[in-house]
C-alpha cells in the first residue's frame, strides 16, 4: 500500500518532468497554423519553414559557431586550471576556486549586464567574439568540475611509476594522465557546448542585430507571436541536447569500466 503510493507519486512527478517536453514533438508536426492539440493533421511544414528561412538558419549557424568556439576555449583554459587547482597547494587556492565556480552562482542577469556594460565600450556588441568570450566564462566551471572529478579518480601511483621509469613531467601527463581524464574533459566539453548553445540572457544584450543566436531568435519570435516553427526548432533542440548528453554519459561509463578493468591490482 505504502509502496504503491510511493510508486504513484514517483510516476506523477516524472510525468510532470517529461510530459511537457514530449508534447513539443507532435506539435512540431502539426498541420494547423496555430497551436492546437491534438493536431488536426500531420505535416512537416514547420521544419520546411525553418530550413527555408535565412534568418533561422543564420541564427542556428551563429549558435553552432559560438558554442564551438566556447567549447574549445573552455577546454583549453579549464583543463590546465583544473589540474593546477586539484594538484597544487598554493596560497589563495580557495579564492581561485571561488572565482572559477562563481559564474554558476552569480545570477545570469548580473553577468549579462556586466559584460554588456564593459564590452559595449570596446565596440564588441553584435560581434560573435563577444558571445564567445562571455559564454566561455559561464561554461568553463563545467570543465573545471568535470576534469577535477576525473583527476580525483586518477591513481597517482600510475604517474609515479611513469616518472620512475624516466618519463618527463610532460610525457607523463600526455601518456598517462591525459588518457585517464579524457572522459572528464569530454563531459566538460559537452556541458560547455550545451551551456553556450542554450544561453539566452547574455545573448539578449550582446548579440545586437548582427550576431543573433538561436535562443535569441526563438525568444523574439515567442514574444512576438507563437507559430509552430518554434515547436519544430524546439523538437530539434531536444533531440540534439539529448543525443549529446547521452553520448557524454556513455563515454563516462565506458571509461569507468576500462579503468576498473585495467588496474585491478592497483585498486585493491
Amino acid at each position: 500500500m505504502r509502496r504503491a503510493a510511493l510508486a504513484a507519486t514517483m510516476a506523477l512527478v516524472l510525468a510532470y518532468l517529461v510530459f511537457p517536453i514530449l508534447i513539443v514533438v507532435p506539435l512540431s508536426f502539426s498541420s494547423a497554423k496555430f497551436l492546437s492539440f491534438p493536431p488536426p493533421g500531420v505535416s512537416t511544414q514547420w521544419y520546411a519553414a525553418f530550413f527555408g528561412s535565412d534568418a533561422w538558419l543564420s541564427a542556428a549557424w551563429t549558435s553552432i559557431w559560438v558554442a564551438s568556439g566556447v567549447t574549445v576555449l573552455a577546454v583549453l583554459l579549464g583543463t590546465p586550471a583544473a589540474i593546477g587547482l586539484h594538484r597544487g597547494r598554493f596560497p589563495g587556492r580557495g579564492v581561485v576556486r571561488a572565482l572559477f565556480l562563481s559564474p554558476l552562482i552569480v545570477p545570469g542577469i548580473i553577468v549579462a549586464i556586466g559584460t554588456y556594460f564593459v564590452y559595449a565600450r570596446f565596440g564588441l556588441v553584435g560581434r560573435p567574439i563577444a558571445l564567445v568570450l562571455a559564454h566561455t566564462c559561464i561554461a568553463v566551471p563545467f570543465v573545471v568540475i568535470n576534469v577535477g572529478a576525473a583527476l580525483h579518480g586518477v591513481d597517482r601511483r600510475l604517474e609515479q611509476a611513469a616518472q620512475n621509469l624516466g618519463a618527463s613531467p610532460f610525457a607523463t601527463f600526455w601518456q598517462v594522465t591525459l588518457p585517464l581524464i579524457r572522459p572528464g574533459i569530454f563531459a566538460g566539453a559537452v556541458f560547455a557546448f550545451i551551456t553556450s548553445f542554450d544561453e539566452l540572457l547574455i545573448a539578449l544584450f550582446l548579440s545586437g542585430s548582427t550576431a543573433v543566436t538561436l535562443p535569441r531568435r526563438m525568444f523574439d519570435q515567442i514574444r512576438f507571436d507563437i507559430d509552430p516553427t518554434i515547436a519544430a526548432v524546439s523538437a530539434m533542440l531536444i533531440f540534439t541536447t539529448t543525443g549529446l548528453m547521452l553520448s557524454a554519459e556513455l563515454a563516462r561509463r565506458r571509461a569507468e569500466r576500462r579503468r576498473t578493468r585495467s588496474v585491478p591490482s592497483l585498486a585493491s
Binding site: 579549464g78 593546477g84 548580473i110
Partner: protein, 276 residues
Amino acid sequence: MHRDGPFLLLAAPLILFLCAFYAYPVAAMLLASLHPPAWSFAEFVGLAGSHVFWRVMEVTGEISLIVTLVCLLLAWPLAYGMARLPAARANLLMVLVLVPFWTSILVRTYAWMALLGRRGIINNLLLWSGLIPRPLTLLNTRFSVCVAMVHVLLPFMVLPIYATLRGLDWRLARAADSLGATPWGTLRQIVLPLSLPGTAAGVIFVFVLAIGFYITPVLVGGPSDVMISILINDEVGVLNWPIAAAMAAVLLAVVLLMLGIFARVVGVERIARGAP
C-alpha cells in the same frame, strides 16, 4: 611555494581570462551604482525608499519561496524512491530527470505556453470533455509562472537529494527497523537527518537560482509577477545604469548572504560537489 609554482602557472591563464572578461566587467558595472568619480550612496538610498523596488523584491521572494517549497515536496519522494531501487533501474529513471535538465529553459517555457495557453492543450482537453464552458486563463498568472519554474528547477533539487540518499548507509535504517521502529519513525529519525546535507544543497540551489530567474517569469508570468531580474533588465533597457547596478548589487548581496549562511550550516565542499 617552490613546488607549487607550476600549478599556479597552470591555473593562471583561466584566472586572467575570468578577471578580464567576467570579474572586471561585473565589478565595473556594480561600481556604477556609486556614481564614480563623485561617489555617493544616493541610488541605494533611493532604492530603500522606492515602493516599486520593495514590491518587486517581495514578489521575487514570494515566488522563489513557493517554487523552492514545491520542488522540495516533489523531489524528496522521487529521490527517495529512486535511491531504494537497484542502481541500474534508478539510472534509467535518472535519464527522465536529466533530459529535462539539459533541455533549454526556453524550450521548456515554450512547452508550458503551449500547454497552458487559451487555445492550449489543457484548455482544449477541458473544453472537449465539457468540464468548462469557456477557456480558463491559465497563462500569465502566478500559477503558470510557478508551475513552469518548478518544472525548470526540479532537477536541481532531485540530483543532490538523490546523491546523499544513494550514498546513505541503509544498514542504519534496517537496524532501526529490526529494533522495532515504525517505518515513519525510521524515516523521521534516521533517513531525514542523514539526508540533510543533500536536501539543504537542493533547497539553497533552487532558491538562489529562482531569485535570479528572468526567462520564465517574463514569458509566462502575469503582469504583477515582475521579478527583480526583469526590473534590472528594464532599467538597462532605458540606459539607467546607476539604478540597474544598484539593484544588481542588492540581488548579488542577497545571493551571497544565502550562500554564506548555507556554507556555515553545511560546509563549502558540499556546495562545490552539489553543483551540476
